[in-house]
């Protein structure tokens, strides 16, 4: 059980060669072995979505995936969204619409929305809200997250 395996994760374009136990979750590997702590752990059983990252473009609950399963895959996390100091349109929309309070669930929402808009740029607002129901936020009551997501989707479609 405790024998470590060498794997390679590519996170936001940067390669990390790490050795992990087979039981190590992807989120622990991202946070502890690769030092990318922007991805958060909210429930460890795939309900809250705080740990959502993109694995080869798909939104994934990184608490439900083993790190070894992500070997060789391309992972994107919240740290990869901004261009240097410049926030991307989705991040800006969250700021403008007050889509975050404590900010703990925020990375998960940002990655969920990013993954959905990349896959389905013409998604309707109703369908987008349906997607947002897969993550939990305890501070905002969601209204401003919806506003931010819809504003970002509109900008996405214009581009």
């Amino acid at each position: 059980m405790s024998e470590r395996r060498e794997i390679k994760l590519t996170i936001n374009g940067k390669a990390y060669a790490i050795a992990v136990e087979p039981r190590r979750t992807l989120v622990d590997a991202i946070r502890e072995d690769c030092g990318q702590t922007g991805t958060h752990i909210g429930c460890e059983h795939g309900v809250c979505g705080a740990c959502t990252v993109l694995v080869d473009g798909d939104p994934v609950r990184s608490c439900l995936m083993f790190a070894v399963q992500a070997h060789g895959k391309s992972i994107r996390t919240v740290e990869g969204l901004a261009d240097g100091d410049a926030l991307n349109p989705l991040q800006r929309a969250f700021m403008e619409h007050h889509g975050l309070q404590c900010g703990f669930c925020t990375a998960g929402f940002l990655m969920l929305i990013t993954g959905v808009l990349e896959r389905e740029p013409d998604i309707s607002d109703e369908a987008l809200v349906e997607v947002l129901s897969s993550n939990l936020c305890r501070c905002t009551g969601y209204r401003n997250i919806v506003k931010a997501a819809c504003a970002a989707a509109a900008e996405w479609r214009r581009r």
Partner: protein
């Protein structure tokens, strides 16, 4: 003045000439505006510093071994197998920390409760599932968890006490199930009931739920030999109080213990209270001489962090023929769980004290029975005691309306305290303060709320839909909140040579946006841009005193202390500038960080940074800095109205909240966007408590709500569009800015409003007596409704 300073002064002069109007917009450029938050950038880019993000070299990870029984005799703990595991450094049990006293009360201490405080570990007996019995310290979090599973805990199970409303008895030898009763009241209640035209009675129940922040608890401690300082990182809510307690419990001087607040992933009353785990990491850091990290998992959080709310109320009201309240009598059974934690009697005290709400209640008697059960101990959760008592009071008002065949709005109007009666002293106290409702136009706010939804038209529409067979209804609830708890706040403001402004407060941030609100107040008072201000909070080594963030106090108390300190800094700056610019203070003001003349469209000016630099060169008290204190003996009282429109599914018993309105008067909104955020977020938690969230136990006291798949919090799909009316009709006379707190009004009346809406939807007055209204409970009501409809045989 140095040549460079003169040069800069000239440049600013010319700028001032091009924009003379900038000098006149002095008063409120920042307060009252929905400005973007200062907090957001690190949180949006993944650069936050939450408790789990903090690491120290050579740290050990702590894993708590918890009781699996609700009640039992703790016979033995065998850590032998765990200690043989690679990477395991120590396993502690009660014997290892026998010298550390129990965790004391922070608020609402009541005589006789001391024996019921919680120690770091269970000793001879376990009292709830989740109670710490041992701790494993290991090199890695996975190893610590593995080893914790090897700790053999021998417990002889005993019968669990799970109900809070039985006859009082023995909780265990030497301890009672009812350690104290909180009594409050005034007036001749018995005479009022004797002379009443009608007596309305209700028995009401509120379920067990809690704040459940998305970030679980976490604490990282280390001992710095060089400074002889014990550091605790991951602090929240009340760092100074916790610092003093940890120091006392570990026998250290408070100055040798420092707490550091990073980002906090939600507070809601639960996070940041002092728990056994916080003290354990500190004790272990001192004794094992290694940094100790503890991050709670979600199951632990749901069984070990404070629960809240669970109460039964037996309430009755004496009313006259017009529906005017003559007296209210209420008996509360408060299910505290297995120990008295830091809040002591806070929740039942608030429930009893705040129950009369916005109404004239000539005589009142409440007894809140604190009851112990073999469940997770309780503390506060957003609008503690008020979510519960508003549900009870507003159910009572609806019952009075039904009994006397009065309109629900009209019965409230007849009983509301009038604006001309303010300030209104109510002969009750809570949180150590006398209740004096400081300001308010309750009827005015009711009118605003009704107008916002077009109440008569809404009722007609709903009546038509009901006639067409839908189960839809509207509910209304009014409430008074409390905010701005003293007794004081201290703030220190300094300006450095570059003009950067730092506000240091002993307050705390739980994600509510306090940095932005405090910066806005400082910006207007001092005359600088709010983005130029750094707000420091939750760092015990930066300031001597701090009360922290609870009871909707930060904007009021820290805000006012900030205003006082910023005014003092400004006065210092103007006095120094008067000398430097050779002008009388009376014609000077600070605009955009520059001291300028107000009596001319042009003239010399000097920046605050230059003044700070000049003051540092001697001849004066060095530096541009000042301290501000704000003190108060009284809380202030925001007030509001909630209106809910709900639809019930006849087949499944599911409730859909179609529409929701919160109208809330908070005197003055520093940042309306943040206030709305607080209200909508609170409303979501209220909806959770009214419809979904409940900590359930089986008959042996085994908790059944241990994952987010069992403990159901609202998702975006359960949330209605929430309309918010922020009202500023009644600024608080207790502070110069007129501020009241905005944190809890969104949650306060949700249970009450939804209950009323469901009564109407079902066509059954007084039907809803229990929260949360889960589909199972709704179906029970629906069966009753069907039975009513059936013609008698």
């Amino acid at each position: 003045m140095a040549a460079a300073l003169k040069q800069r002064t000239v440049e600013r002069m010319s700028r001032a000439m091009t924009a003379p109007e900038a000098r006149t917009k002095a008063a409120a450029k920042f307060i009252g505006r929905s400005l973007p938050r200062l907090e957001d950038r690190p949180l949006l880019t993944g650069r936050g510093r939450f408790a789990a993000d903090i690491d120290f070299p050579r740290q050990l990870h702590m894993r708590i071994v918890r009781s699996q029984f609700a009640h039992g005799r703790l016979r033995a703990i065998d850590a032998g197998a765990a200690l043989t595991r690679r990477g395991v450094h120590a396993v502690w049990t009660a014997a290892d920390v026998a010298d550390i006293p129990p965790i004391d009360f922070r608020l609402s201490r009541v005589a006789g409760l001391e024996p019921y405080r919680q120690r770091l570990f269970a000793t001879d007996r376990v009292r709830y599932v989740g109670e710490p019995v041992a701790a494993v310290f290991a090199e890695d979090a996975y190893l610590a968890e593995d080893a914790a599973e090897l700790v053999a805990v021998d417990i002889e199970e005993l019968p669990a006490i799970l109900g809070a409303d039985a006859e009082p008895g023995e909780f265990e030898p030497g301890r009672l199930t009812e350690p104290a009763i909180v009594r409050k009241g005034y007036g001749d209640v018995d005479a009022a009931f004797a002379s009443a035209e009608a007596v309305v009675v209700a028995t009401l129940t509120i379920g067990r739920h809690s704040g459940v922040p998305l970030e679980t608890r976490g604490a990282v401690a280390r001992y710095d030999e060089e400074r002889d300082v014990l550091e605790l990182h991951g602090a929240a809510k009340v760092p100074h109080w916790n610092r003093d307690q940890i120091a006392r419990m570990l026998g250290r001087d408070p100055k040798s213990v420092q707490l550091y607040e990073g980002h906090v992933g939600g507070g809601f009353g639960v996070r940041g209270e002092l728990y056994p785990e916080d003290v354990l990491v500190c004790a272990a850091a001192l004794r094992l001489r290694r940094p100790i990290k503890w991050i709670e998992d979600r199951r632990e959080h749901l069984i070990a962090a404070n629960h809240s709310r669970q109460q039964h109320h037996h309430v009755r009201a004496a009313v006259d023929g017009e529906g005017r309240i003559l007296a209210i009598e209420n008996e509360i059974f408060y299910d505290q769980g297995a120990y008295m934690r830091t809040h002591a009697a806070t929740v039942p005290d608030l429930a009893a004290a705040m129950l009369p709400g916005p109404y004239r209640v000539p005589a009142y008697r409440a007894s809140a029975r604190i009851r112990l059960t073999n469940k997770t101990p309780c503390g506060t959760y957003r609008a503690p005691g008020r979510f519960e008592s508003t549900f009870v009071r507003e159910r009572l008002l609806d019952a009075i309306a039904d009994r006397l065949n009065l309109d629900r709005v009209e019965v409230r109007r007849r009983n509301l305290i009038g604006a001309q009666e303010m300030p209104y002293a109510r002969p009750l106290d809570t949180l150590g303060t006398e209740i004096v409702l400081d300001s308010g136009d309750y009827a005015g706010l009711l009118d605003k709320a009704l107008a916002a939804v077009d109440w008569p038209r809404l009722r007609e529409q709903l009546a038509r839909r009901r006639a067409a067979g839908e189960l839809v209804g509207a509910g209304l609830a009014l409430f008074v909140e409390k905010s701005g708890l003293g007794p004081f706040d201290q703030v220190r403001i300094g300006v450095d040579g570059d003009g950067a402004v730092e506000v240091v407060s002993g307050s705390a941030s739980v994600g509510q946006g306090m940095e932005t609100a405090i910066a806005q107040i400082c910006a207007d008072t001092l005359g600088v841009d709010y983005r130029a201000i750094r707000v420091v909070h939750g760092q015990t080594e930066r300031i001597e005193h701090g009360m922290g963030a609870f009871a909707s106090r930060v904007t009021v108390m820290t805000g006012e202390a900030t205003r006082v300190a910023a005014s003092a800094v400004k006065a210092k700056a103007l006095a120094a500038a008067a000398e430097l610019l050779q002008a009388p203070v009376a014609v000077l003001d600070v605009v955009d960080g520059e001291v300028v003349r107000t009596d001319a469209t042009a003239g010399p000016s000097i920046g605050l940074g230059a003044i700070a630099a000049a003051l540092s060169r001697g001849g004066h008290e060095p530096g541009l800095a000042a301290e501000g204190w704000f003190r108060t003996n009284h809380m202030n009282y925001p007030y509001g109205a909630h209106i809910a429109v709900t639809r019930v599914d006849r087949d499944t018993g599911a409730v859909v909240v179609e529409r929701y309105l919160v109208a809330y008067d908070i005197g003055r909104a520093v940042n309306p966007m943040l206030v709305e955020g607080q209200i909508v977020g609170g409303c979501a938690q209220g909806i959770g408590g009214a419809l979904f969230e409940e900590f359930l136990y089986d008959e042996r006291g085994e908790p059944l709500s241990v994952t987010f798949a069992d403990y159901l919090m609202p998702t975006v799909r359960e949330m209605p569009p929430v309309e918010v009316v922020i009202s500023e009709d009644a600024p608080s006379p207790l502070n110069p800015l007129g501020l009241k707190g905005a944190g809890e009004g969104g949650a306060n009346a949700v249970g009450a409003a939804i209950a009323a809406a469901i009564d109407e939807a079902l066509g059954m007055p007084n039907a809803v007596t229990e929260l949360p209204l889960t589909p199972r409970r709704l179906r029970r009501l629906l069966r009753r409704a069907t039975a009513h409809d059936r013609p008698p045989r």
